[in-house]
Symmetry: C2
Subunit: 441 residues, 2 copies
């Protein structure tokens, strides 16, 4: 970079040439001119490392750029793009690149959410740029929005549909009344769910993403173990259906909210009003709603995954890293938060949808309502359906679903009341609890 | 900025202390610490100019910052925020600030869309930053998204709901079946429409904004006179209603599309499918859909006006200007487009909704369809309603609305065919033409 004649040329290397790596190489090569015209940066792809060059790819990486030795990439590039995924090797690659004074771009939410502190501190210590736009929301520039576009705001809350697989499954369940297993099978058939989909459907992927957004929004580290995570594996289509009738759509929502000096940070199936913009986000699309004290509510929407949208985000980081290199200034460091870990409030304050399977007999509602009242939980509405629940061993009884929507209550009170209600002889099956988010719009 | 101990302090001055100016001062003062924590920039508000300091404001500007002489602001600030509005004086202020080597932040879409070339060239010539995030979409960071977040993409098209006043009026017409005049009156009562609302309802405000977005997206100047502009003043509630029945919602859409080496750029009432995300954008909210070759479709949503959201955008520009000052690099110039003016295609290619008021007699449809066929216009669907149109002077006849939805056709052919159809004796009133956008999602 010292040579003035090369001032605007920046050497880029990619480690890990799977679908996103291939998409990124394709974008860098195909749109090189257009990027140069927009930014005056000449992004030169100098090396791509992968262990398998026999695999078929959507784009043919030029022979002379290929290597199987990632160290060559770190050696030759100014900006190292880590796209190997996983935690152990990726971490080694990133730390090694930073150690050698290279800027880093990564899409690795898993690593950043769980071990980000080590990586970000190393980047800060070395005064190097680390970009991770592609780690959340695919091509949607939501990290840039949080860091720069909304920089003047105190962030009040973030609500996100951050995982396409689960959103696809819930959309199919909602629209076609499928059960979870059938919808999951369809997602797999379409390539939207992996063979082992646990990271997605159990909520971990969304949790990694909301942890990253919350760290940016609130300026402190978050201990990932503090994030409450509940996936969609146990979602019963009966609740999707009953919720729909009450005007709600079920989404796997990732939530971060500032409450005094603590934050709530959680991922769980959540009912939101069907008329709200977030409820309309269907299929594999992602969306993030950010509320700031000055800007009010804003929403960012787009494809949350896929090689091309993700490559779009990776390249936006590469350009920012290139600008950083050309005017090296601590001001452009993307991470400027306190090392102190943010205190997480686990006793949420929310509205709740509760379903109890009960015999169709007088006095049942009163018994349940009494327990709720004991815990100071106020009932907003009740729906008792004339439909029969089938409970193993009690097929001869008329068991009906009784749905109670509460006003805002504390999670701990809800959990304690449910434990007590479960012990009532009139409650046949384990009660169902789904949180309701009223503040989406 | 030479003094190292002041390295991170940047002096900010505001010219024009109306609602947005006041909101910006408030944000800079109230959230100064939070911005410093996020960016390491200490934004010091040094001066605010306005001609009237007696007027009541939502926030009390400290006495020592007030002046009635805008030249003092230019003198004392590193970054001059122009919020006077209008064209003549605002232009003088901006050019004077740039001339004195100051960075400029403005929300003045009117000025930038019509006379941007002079201002942007001056900023480029002096190697100074000019920020205008607040000129489009209020607090939504859409300009940053176009310039940076989606920098790797070739932009295919932009569809925007960019004016809150017209969107409020059309929302009321759609949801409550109001006519235009009634809805406008309500908008005025709520403070969403100005006493002279022409800039909004005749489409000029949205046109200014789409011109700015298109210049950024396509990297060339656009002659504002080339933008096709049609407002909502003549929208008949009958068409809103008939469109609704056909599954469409009427929006004032601002459209920019690349077509080969030309672009289409236009603002007009447009039907979009009611199920699409843009159709759900209601009331005074704004939204912009940007489609890129890699990112696919993304959407950005939020409050398009108001002092606080707009202040949020202004401050995001101030921070970028501050970073620019601290590492002065041509790479951070926001405007990097060709001075060559982009060629605009005026003969749009679109689908059309056509309404003819005709007597309820046999043979009428055939006559109209014949003319359309002569112009190679293919009919997609027909709706003839059993309802009566009242036409002055022909109250005794049964006049019914005949709606034809066409497949894609050229604007010129449509206009010529309508001229011919108007001359048919069976067509009672001037035909209604509304363009239909199928590519919203």
């Amino acid at each position: 970079m010292e040579d003035n004649s090369l001032m605007h040329t920046v050497r880029v290397g990619i480690i890990g040439c799977g679908t996103v790596g291939t998409g990124t190489a394709k974008l860098l090569i195909e749109n090189r001119e257009i990027i140069r015209k927009k930014t005056d940066l000449n992004l030169e792809l100098v090396k791509v490392a992968d262990i398998d060059w026999k695999r078929e790819r959507e784009f043919n990486i030029p022979e002379n750029l290929r290597t199987t030795n990632y160290k060559e990439v770190i050696e030759e590039a100014d900006i190292v793009v880590e796209l190997v995924g996983g935690k152990t090797f990726a971490k080694q690659v990133i730390l090694e690149a930073l150690e050698k004074g290279k800027c880093v771009v990564t899409a690795n939410k898993h690593l950043l959410a769980e071990d980000g502190i080590e990586i970000f501190e190393k980047a800060r210590e070395r005064n190097l740029f680390i970009g991770f736009e592609a780690s959340v929301g695919g091509g949607i520039p939501v990290i840039k929005a949080l860091r720069e576009g909304l920089v003047g705001n105190r962030v009040l809350n973030i609500l996100g549909i951050l995982n396409g697989t689960t959103n696809y499954i819930l959309t199919r369940m909602f629209e076609e009344n499928l059960d979870f297993e059938t919808a999951l099978k369809e997602a797999k058939k379409k390539g939207y769910a992996e063979a082992n989909p646990s990271l997605d459907i159990d909520g971990w992927d969304a949790a990694h993403k909301i942890a990253i957004l919350a760290m940016l929004a609130y300026g402190n580290y978050i201990d990932f173990k503090d994030v409450y995570v509940e996936g969609i594996r146990n979602v019963d289509k009966l609740d999707v259906e009953l919720g729909k009738e009450l005007g709600y759509t079920l989404k796997l929502l990732a939530i971060a909210k500032k409450v005094d000096s603590e934050i709530e940070i959680r991922v769980h199936p959540t009912f939101i009003h069907s008329e709200e913009a977030l409820a309309k986000v269907s299929g594999v699309y992602n969306a993030v709603m950010i509320e700031g004290d000055f800007v009010g509510k804003t929403m960012f929407y787009g494809q949350g995954a896929g090689s091309h949208p993700t490559a779009s985000a990776v390249v936006s980081d590469i350009v920012d890293a290139g600008k950083f290199l050309l005017c090296k200034s601590k001001l452009n460091l993307p991470v400027n938060w306190e090392t102190e870990t943010l205190k997480v409030r686990k006793n949420f304050y929310s509205r709740y949808y509760l379903r109890f399977d009960v015999p169709d007999k007088p006095g049942v509602l009163a018994k349940i309502a009494n327990v709720l009242a004991d815990y100071n939980i106020s009932i907003a509405s009740v729906l008792q359906k004339e439909m029969v629940c089938k409970i193993a061993g009690r097929e001869n009884e008329t068991i009906v679903p009784l749905v109670i929507l509460t006003h805002k209550a504390f999670e701990k009170d809800i959990q304690n009341s449910l434990r007590e209600i479960s012990r009532l002889p009139v409650v046949v099956d384990k009660p169902v609890l789904i949180r309701v988010e009223e503040e989406a719009y």
